[in-house]
């Protein structure tokens, strides 16, 4: 029995594993290390309403999860924040708003992304307060217009009214050449195709905002209250925004509600509402009509879906970052503050349109910066 061989063989394995683990450097920072790290003095940005973004860099990691609606925006923010602050490692998992809040309450993440503010009906603010040891704040961060994406052969442009949207998504209109759709689209050639409705099968803030929109603008047709879970009776459920987008793209006659960014990315057509096309500017106008209903530093918004503002695209959602007002771990609080300051800064907000999101209106933006500065 050659026991010596055992040692030799296993040492080969160990050496191989070590060699595999040891070679090469880890990150992609080489290219971005030329960016200046900014003033690293602590509190450089604190106190002023226009935080200069990467005023105080941190090194370490932050963990966040939640809404897929802001995934593109926050991925972009992480990447550009990291190019300013080398050691800052922020990870964001797009698990959906519901899962994000659950993780936040279970203390699994440092902050959560959500398409709706914490809901008092479900006792979420109290649970979040218990998890934080202090009040949790809803901070609006990114405006995500919801596109009503459709796929009808031969139709590029479609105009819908709130009533039509509610009728289509509740199954009261089932054909694309329905006279009511034709009336809103004079001159368009609508085919005799069945309408296939797609909705989100997971709990989603997008669904919450979209059902709220239908309930507020066409209460007689869409009678259900807003809900994170789809309560409609027709259509097929698909997982996550990407699932709905893929399904609409693959189905002739398909229609679904998805975040604007995904519609652009998947090259899908999306409908105008009351003749207003969806653009960053038209969505921004709708946010301006929103009211702040949060108290103190909490900035929950009440969106006005029935806004009569000319040129406003009304189906929008505002995605929030849900944070603790005071973190048990002070460093954590400082890190969250530093990253969110950057995300709320005008410098970053103006790049949002590139990834299919709209910037916050200036008035709300300055309130957000104010609230972020109060985090400790």
């Amino acid at each position: 029995m050659k026991i010596t061989r055992i040692g030799r063989a296993s040492s080969v394995a160990v050496v191989a594993a070590l060699a595999l683990a040891a070679c090469g450097s880890s990150s992609n920072n080489d290219s971005s290390s030329s960016a200046p790290a900014g003033g690293s003095g602590s509190g450089a940005a604190a106190g002023t309403a226009t935080a200069s973004g990467a005023g105080d860099c941190f090194s370490g990691s932050l963990n966040a999860a939640g809404s897929t609606a802001q995934q593109n925006a926050i991925t972009q923010a992480i990447s550009s924040y990291q190019s300013k602050c080398n050691g800052a490692k922020v990870s964001y998992n797009g698990t959906g708003s519901g899962a994000g809040i659950t993780s936040f309450i279970a203390k699994q993440v440092d902050f959560a992304g959500s398409d709706s503010a914490l809901s008092p009906d479900k006792g979420e603010p109290a649970k979040a307060k218990a998890a934080c040891g202090s009040d949790a704040l809803n901070l609006p961060m990114v405006t995500g217009p919801i596109a009503v994406a459709f796929n009808v052969k031969g139709v590029d442009k479609l105009n819908l009214t709130p009533d039509l949207i509610a009728k289509i998504f509740s199954g009261k209109i089932t054909k694309w050449n329905d006279p009511e759709i034709a009336a809103a689209n004079k001159g368009a050639k609508l085919p005799d195709t069945n309408i296939s409705v797609f909705f989100r099968s997971d709990e989603s803030g997008t669904t919450d905002n979209f059902t709220n929109y239908m309930n507020k603008t066409a209460p007689k047709i869409w009678t259900d209250e807003k809900s994170k879970k789809w309560t409609g009776k027709v259509g097929q459920g698909k997982s996550k925004t990407a699932g709905v987008a893929t399904a609409v793209k693959a189905t002739d006659g398909g229609i679904g509600y998805i975040e604007w960014g995904y519609a652009v990315q998947n090259k899908l057509n999306f409908a105008s509402v009351n003749g207003v096309e969806l653009t960053g500017a038209s969505a921004g106008k709708a946010v301006e009509a929103a009211q702040v209903v949060g108290t103190g530093k909490d900035l929950s918004l009440k969106l006005d879906y029935t806004t009569k503002e000319p040129g406003a695209y009304p189906i929008i959602l505002v995605t929030y970052e849900i944070v603790c007002s005071k973190y048990a771990d002070a460093t954590k609080g400082k890190n969250v503050k530093s990253f969110l300051s950057y995300m709320a800064s005008p410098d970053f907000q103006k790049t949002l349109e590139g990834v299919g999101a709209a910037p916050l209106p200036a008035e709300i933006q300055s309130k957000v910066v104010d609230s972020i500065n109060s985090i400790s």
């Binding site: 029995m1 050659k2 026991i3 061989r5 055992i6 030799r8 063989a9 296993s10 394995a13 191989a16 594993a17 595999l20 683990a21 070679c23 090469g24 450097s25 880890s26 990150s27 992609n28 920072n29 290219s31 971005s32 990691s61 963990n63 999860a65 995934q71 593109n72 925006a73 991925t75 972009q76 992480i78 990447s79 990291q82 190019s83 490692k89 990870s91 998992n93 279970a106 203390k107 699994q108 996550k240 925004t241 990407a242 699932g243 987008a245 893929t246 793209k249 960014g261 995904y262 652009v264 990315q265 998947n266 090259k267 590139g354 990834v355």
Partner: protein
């Protein structure tokens, strides 16, 4: 073929002393049909295997042949559709290896000792019970293992998830695999060896340590490495327990850690609209297959090097 010679006419039996294939048409026909069927079954079984390999290699090979893929992580990754760099998978490769290694460190001793108990000591009700439990454990769906650890770790204790949780869930999957293969290996050790050892007055524990284990060592190593390869590619528990991050993290006990399956999972939703995401998915799939292949080969090699010469 155990045909009775008596059944065959003397004239035919004369030249071969058995069967003459050329003379009985029906037998030849049956033989040919059976051959064709068996070959067809074999080829059908090969189709998905070759197809998978072809798809993964054709789509992923170009990605993994770049140096960046092995040297960098995904830090600085941009929004899908707006990022033109594939970047690397180093964080996920290291993560997969570390998680699987931690799993092995816990699972292999438990599994090997259970197997030793079952083969060398176990008699009666307890042994039957243990054996039954191992069977049940091997039938537990992997997602249930993940849910179980989540329930214990987060819901019950209220701790923060880390990469080690994934290892714990994978332990539940690895133990039965390694235990069963080790058991088979120990059963293969001839009883004469044990008896010879006892006859020389060697106690039972020493016989096991010095005779039984070294004799079956190559088989145990092979079985363990196959278990390692299995958990390296396991996905379901990671979907629940492993929080993906785009950064390299060596620490199993703090922070998020990426693994190849989660790297795939994160990029799959964007595959349809974004070629770069698709490249990452296929690259990671290719890497995972390659990793499992290398580990399997390593298992064979170690098995061969440590084989006991008779």
């Amino acid at each position: 073929m155990s045909l009775d010679v008596k059944d065959i006419p003397a004239s035919e039996a004369g030249d071969l002393g058995g069967i003459d294939h050329g003379k009985s048409g029906i037998r030849v026909l049956k033989n040919n049909i059976a051959t064709v069927l068996i070959w067809a079954a074999f080829l059908i079984a090969l189709i998905p295997l070759v197809w998978i390999l072809w798809t993964v290699l054709s789509k992923g090979l170009s990605t993994i042949l770049t140096v960046t893929w092995w040297q960098k992580d995904q830090s600085g990754v941009g929004a899908p559709g707006f990022d033109t760099n594939v970047r690397g998978a180093r964080h996920a490769i290291i993560g997969t290896l570390e998680i699987a290694a931690a799993t092995s460190v816990i699972a292999i001793p438990i599994a090997v000792m259970t197997a030793i108990y079952l083969v060398e000591y176990g008699r009666g009700k307890l042994a039957r019970g243990v054996s039954f439990m191992v069977d049940i454990l091997s039938g537990v769906p992997s997602i249930v293992a993940g849910l179980f650890i989540y329930a214990v770790w987060v819901t019950f204790f209220g701790w923060k998830l880390n990469a080690f949780c994934s290892s714990l869930a994978l332990v539940l999957l690895m133990v039965p695999v390694v235990c069963r293969s080790t058991e088979e290996m120990l059963k293969l050790v001839p009883n004469e060896l044990r008896e010879a050892s006892y006859a020389l007055g060697v106690p039972k524990w020493k016989t096991i340590v010095k005779v039984v284990l070294p004799t079956s060592f190559s088989g145990i190593v092979t079985g363990s490495l196959l278990g390692f390869a299995r958990v390296a590619g396991e996905t379901a528990p990671l979907l629940i327990l492993a929080q993906y991050t785009q950064f390299l993290n060596y620490n199993l006990f703090s922070g998020n850690m990426a693994a190849l399956p989660t790297l795939i999972n994160v990029n799959v939703p964007n595959m349809a609209g974004d070629q770069v995401s698709a490249d990452r998915v296929w690259g990671a799939a290719c890497t995972l297959i390659l990793l499992v292949l290398v580990i399997n080969l390593l298992g064979r090699l170690i098995g061969r090097l440590t084989r006991v010469k008779s």
